[in-house]
């Protein structure tokens, strides 16, 4: 390979490799150790760089970009603090299986290990929070490593990778190897096709089910649009009830007749009861997380379990399953659908009659019900109105972490996959605003709403500046209750109502804050005005911070309290009066 066309500097190689991997946008922040790459960015037009205001924002923006498009998100950070600030989004992407490539600058190879200015052991620090990472020591290997980084990030169970590029490598001249010609790591070859014997056994088991349930997760969304289509087809064919984890919302439409709502700690009564009482559970691209299972030794005690997952370590990790199927969701579902269609004798409708009646009974319990109010905006009501008013549009929703996140999951109906971006595994407060920015970059004409809490939004509020710079009209809808609501809820439930540090004493004026950034600030504390104001917010073509003052003491129910099983949920009508009445004493009421 002496072709002079393929000779270039390391920094040029980075840009060329990104372009050849289909990258159009990168999110980053410059610094000393990445200046050569920034110089190349300056001299080209194929890739747009979005300047964030903190590296954590770059990571979450890339996550939002990736989750809403199915493409790989790319972030670019400098050495030292740039890399350490990237750790939170990397771990977030690892836990939620988001394909992310992080390019980080590093001090020159000759200075590595000398405690140089802005040096840190980036590959050491990011090793446990990435799927894989590399320190590039030879400019001739740089292109191959970047191609491999993209392959590893987006295949198998997707995840974040880091390519750490020392500054002297960025300056050095070497050979660019195009994708497809670079060596691939043979030890990494994820299996897409499920074992046919296991799939056959699964279909046979499903056909005998009297009380079946489909339990789906983020893996369906990650597997691509075809997986969601096949899932819908499977539900149509089998008429099985279906629930989903927080991460999988939208894979099956919330308006679908078999939809049970989200399951888990704040999931619906019908979903959790169905999980507890089922005789056949089909877990599709979910991982039996502790927020889902409740008390593990009381989890769905009488069911036989089928688990489809691309990650072998997810199978039998928390819950033993009877039929594990290792493979890609779409590929396996295609087989399942085909085999189900070919069944010589389909199960009679009467086989699941009692089950459907049970589910109707549980549904009738209306576990998401709340007491409406004419005086204050109930947070659930605010989400309901937001949902109603954004219907019919191409809407994407991101969230921060806390009560507002759970209410958004409960009350905002998602009809399509890739429309819902939230930090599920890591639970990163501050995720929503930068993620919304990433989504808006990918979908400039869409309505992008960050459903936020008053505490979470302050964790990455600096990205308002980024939204303004790039004319990204994200809508930040703050359910402002002046508390870290979920922290307070746990303190009420588990710590004798001692509200240690969960009240926000010094709240910024969010309207003025929006204006300070050059955005539009809105305020609403009256349920009668809410619809009009939401309409106004949606119509604004600029970023908006909407300070929606909601009932301060509302709590998020239903809830599986700690140490309890799915059939021991705390329902809103059993919980609100007593729990909230005893929750706040006279002194506390003066505060709110």
């Amino acid at each position: 390979m002496t072709d002079s066309n393929n000779q270039m500097t390391g920094a040029e190689i980075v840009l060329r490799a990104l372009k050849d991997n289909g990258v159009e946008h990168i999110f980053g922040y410059p610094g000393g150790a990445v200046l050569p790459i920034y110089d190349e960015i300056f001299q080209q037009d194929d890739i747009q760089h979005i300047l964030v205001r903190h590296e954590q924002g770059a990571g979450h923006a890339a996550e939002g970009y990736a989750r809403s498009t199915g493409k790989v998100g790319v972030m670019l950070v400098t050495s030292g603090p740039g890399a350490t600030n990237a750790v939170t989004p990397l771990q977030d992407a690892l836990m939620d299986s988001v394909p992310l490539v992080c390019i980080s600058g590093q001090v020159p190879t000759t200075l590595i290990g000398s405690d140089a200015f802005q040096e840190c052991d980036t590959v050491g620090i990011t090793r446990p929070c990435t799927k894989h990472n590399w320190l590039v020591k030879d400019v001739n290997e740089l292109a191959g490593i970047i191609h491999e980084a993209f392959r590893i990030a987006q295949t198998g169970r997707p995840g974040p990778v880091v390519v750490d590029v020392p500054k002297d490598i960025q300056f050095a001249t070497g050979t660019y190897t195009p994708p497809g010609q670079a060596p691939v790591n043979k030890s990494y070859a994820p299996k897409l096709q499920g074992d046919m014997k296991a799939i056959q056994a699964a279909v046979e088991l499903m056909a005998t089910a009297k009380r079946p349930v489909l339990y789906t997760g983020g893996g369906v969304v990650n597997s691509g649009p075809e997986a969601s289509r096949l899932l819908r087809e499977l539900v149509e064919l089998t008429d099985f009830p279906i629930t989903s984890t927080l991460m999988g919302l939208g894979a099956y439409p919330a308006s679908g007749k078999n939809w049970l709502g989200m399951l888990g700690m704040h999931g619906s009564y019908e979903a959790n009861m169905a999980m507890h009482d089922c005789d056949v559970m089909v877990c599709i691209g979910a991982r039996f997380d502790d927020r889902i299972t409740g008390r593990i030794n009381a989890f769905s005690p009488n069911s036989r379990k089928i688990h489809i997952d691309i990650d072998p370590s997810s199978i039998n990790k928390n819950v033993r399953v009877d039929i594990p199927i290792l493979g890609d969701v779409a590929t396996v579902l295609e087989d399942i659908v085909r085999l189900w269609r070919a069944l010589p004798k389909k199960p009679e409708k009467s086989q699941t009659q009692e089950w459907r009646e049970s589910i109707q009974r549980w549904r009738a319990r209306k576990s998401f019900a709340y007491k409406p109010s004419n005086d204050v905006i109930m947070p659930q009501y605010a989400i309901e109105r937001l949902y109603e008013q954004s219907k019919g549009r191409k809407t994407f929703v991101t969230t921060e972490v806390g009560q507002h996140q759970m209410w958004a999951a409960q009350f905002f109906g998602f009809e399509e996959p890739n429309r819902w971006m939230t930090s599920g595994g890591l639970g990163t407060m501050g995720y929503g605003l930068p993620a919304a920015i990433g989504v808006q970059v990918a979908h400039p004409d869409a309505l992008v709403i960050d459903i936020a809490g008053d505490a979470s939004i302050q964790m990455c509020i600096q990205e308002m500046s980024c939204a303004i710079q790039y004319n990204l009209p994200v809508k930040i809808f703050i359910l402002n209750n002046q508390y870290m609501g979920m922290v307070r809820q746990w303190q009420q439930l588990l710590h004798g109502n001692r509200l240690s540090n969960s009240y926000t004493e010094a709240m910024p004026d969010f309207v003025k804050l929006a204006e300070a950034y050059g955005a539009v600030g809105m305020y609403c504390d009256d349920p009668k005005e809410l619809d009009g104001k939401i309409e106004e917010m949606i119509a604004v073509k600029k970023p908006v911070i909407f300070d929606c003052r909601v009932a301060n003491l509302a709590n998020c129910f239903p809830m599986i309290p700690s140490g309890k099983a799915h059939n021991e949920m705390l329902l809103p009508d059993e919980a609100t009066d007593e729990a909230v009445a005893t929750a706040i004493d006279a002194k506390g009421r003066q505060l709110v």
């Binding site: 990494y188 370590s313 588990l494 710590h495 309290p561 007593e578």
Partner: protein, 190 residues
Amino acid sequence: MNAHQQATGSAYFIAPETAKVENHTLSVLVNNEPGVLARVIGLFSGRGYNIESLTVSETEHEAHLSRITIVTRGTPSVLEQIKAQLERIVPVHRVVDLTVRAKDLGQERPIEREVALIKVVGSGEHRAETLRLADAFQAKVVDATVEHFVLEITGKSSKIDQFVAILKPLGLIEICRTGIAAMNRGPQGM
């Protein structure tokens, strides 16, 4: 039904582990590349698994492959999880649980051997006794002066433990052990 009346004030579901703990020997075939050992060790410390013994060396120079032998402890489900987690590491080619494999082959255990170098300092009758024991345990003298011996012994860990225990009163001052190298019996490869 009231969660706040519960004894356990935890946000997590804590269940005591009741299954029996076993010792297993794993063979891990990896790319010989920078950081690969750190990935393996980091996995064990990060996920709270135990390492009883660990050896690593390049086994196929041309193919850049190294073989890591790890003795670990855990319940059967934890051991299964360790294997799955190891397989997830990108430069890991294969993981074989030699202990499980031995059982599948109808054998009690895989072959497990360790080398130890042992320095004994002494004089008079102690020296003679040291040599007699070395002979009995088939240990070799690899270095000696009138004051000391360095002995090399190969065998199962239990044999080395025993040898070390016996030599202690005879002037043992230094031990170096390699950790366990292991493979399965029989004509089949890994």
